[in-house]
Symmetry: C2
């Protein structure tokens, strides 16, 4: 006879602007199942909440667990969360303002819900299960649509005066003549070093007539250019992609150096799709660029690594937050 | 009959590359006397130590106190200090390496000595007696020969992994085509926003034939251009000085914005001679520039102020360190 499932599983959800990722973990944080679904934020919060619930139902079904086996649900949200982890104050990509997401999810799922900023979730995962294990003072940089940062001091996430610490994506890296950023400013770090910036530059050059294998790899549809495609083109030796990635490594190194100069962390830990797909090629270049912009560039000072977590940082961190709540 | 002086006075020394400042404080940290003397680092450490001792003897004489009335001596040093506050590991401007300064001073003065990095001393003073009072999370930027930074988190100075946090002077602000920095890199914050950078640019423009009242104010001797002279020229409406100071405010704003984006502090607090002399004119411009490079530029987020301590931050902070030792 199978024993009844214990009531100590945790579900972690990574709510992104394009996709919802959900996973269920056992009491030892072992992954039992994962599911994903498109977010479709344009359909409004009720529809997105419905899709989150469906994804969770599917992941529990895949693990053959009833809702009653789940002690808590953590949701990583790309936005500003209230200090109690219950309300989404602002999530620009989802067009949400002051949405009581935790209450709305609990009502449908009958599971206690904790919300956490998605970048802070990723940082918790790096600290507890990634290459941040054993470190007390480090900074995470997640490179994706934008660039998010997580600052860990004395083993804890440092939030600053208003919970906004770690907005490294908006550091001015090319302040005078850099590209315009979504935030309204000019030359922010993410306008020159995010995956979006990489894709934008490659598409612009291809539009000007430059050749690249990317055009074939994405079947001529620029919206299909993902990190995997960029990595494939890079490894094939595509000249345009190599040039853009190398420039991006230079900017990532400058950004890492700024963080190192200000905080002198034990490590700067990089995550996000591009790093997962191409970290082996990018990290040595990023490190070299950082050394050129750090005072006293000893190896101990410029310690840049990848997170070791792949795509799982977000769901894992959301689960950690739910477990700690 | 006068009572015997109590044994709870503290002497604070600010050891700079050009001058030694010393002050004696009573148990309530009230200033009793101050003295200063040229450092003359070119004469070697023994001579500099002799000059520190003389300055201390003079300040105690001025306050009519015997050495036995002093419970501790704190010395702020422009360099890296060992964690116990006893040895100067490196002080580049003084050409010192691994100098057991505390022991050497105690031998001559028979007073317990605590060494502290000069910028960290200034930061302690801002926290306890300046405009950082009542704040728990802020960043100091001291603008002088270079630019030093002090990071306070949860009410304590944050030192990072190797005691090097706060090297904001070496953040890359103009990484690709900025001026070469003393550290070997290019476009560091202090190459475009320190008092040295301001003076260098004004002198270069005057050498090219541009007119400025600075030439008269310094009697044609560029080495005599101090913050006071720059402030006088600015207030007289000197076009060159106004132009350079305004550009500098732009860079200072960008640097402050970077710190704000990463750490979300309650305040960024500026100190140093230029700010003391011209803060009323510079702070509004620095704030405006910072707002243009911060995500979500609410007044609470971009809170930039002067230290309120004038020239005393260094000696006061050294005294605080000695009291705490």
């Amino acid at each position: 006879m199978k024993p009844a499932p214990r009531h100590d599983h945790i579900v972690g959800v990574d709510l992104g602007g394009t996709k919802i990722l959900a996973a269920v973990y056992d009491a030892k944080h072992r992954l039992l199942a994962r599911e994903k679904k498109a977010t479709k934020p344009e359909l409004g919060p009720a529809e997105v909440i419905g899709r989150i619930v469906e994804t969770i139902n599917e992941v529990l079904a895949a693990a053959a667990l009833p809702h009653s086996a789940v002690a808590g649900l953590g949701v990583g949200v790309p936005g500003l969360i209230d200090p109690k982890g219950q309300i989404v104050r602002v999530a620009a990509n989802l067009h949400w303002h002051d949405l009581p997401l935790a209450k709305l999810l609990t009502k449908q799922l009958r599971i206690p819900v904790t919300l956490i900023n998605d970048v802070q979730a990723g940082t918790l995962a790096v600290r507890d299960f990634g290459t941040g294990r054993g470190l007390t003072d480090f900074v995470c940089m997640f490179i994706g649509t934008g660039i998010g940062g997580g600052v860990v001091t004395n083993g804890k996430i440092y939030r600053g005066a208003h919970g906004l610490a770690g907005e490294i994506g908006h550091m001015a890296i090319v302040p005078h003549d850099g590209p315009r950023c979504g935030c309204g400013n000019r030359g922010c770090f993410e306008t020159v070093a995010s995956r979006t910036a990489v894709v934008r530059r490659i598409v612009r050059e291809m539009d000007k007539g430059r050749k690249s294998v990317v055009r074939d790899l994405c079947d001529g549809d620029a919206s299909r250019i993902r990190s995997r495609i960029l990595a494939e083109a890079y490894r094939e030796g595509d000249e345009l992609v190599r040039e853009v990635i190398h420039d991006t490594c230079e900017y990532l190194g400058i950004g890492a150096a700024t963080v190192i100069n200000i905080l002198n962390p034990q490590a700067v830990i990089l995550g996000g799709g591009l790093i997962e797909a191409l970290g082996d090629r990018m990290l040595p270049r990023i490190t070299k660029a950082a050394k050129a912009h750090v005072i006293d560039p000893t190896p101990a000072r410029v310690n840049i690594r990848d997170s070791g977590l792949g795509d799982d940082a977000g769901i894992l961190g959301a689960a950690i937050a739910a477990r700690a709540a």
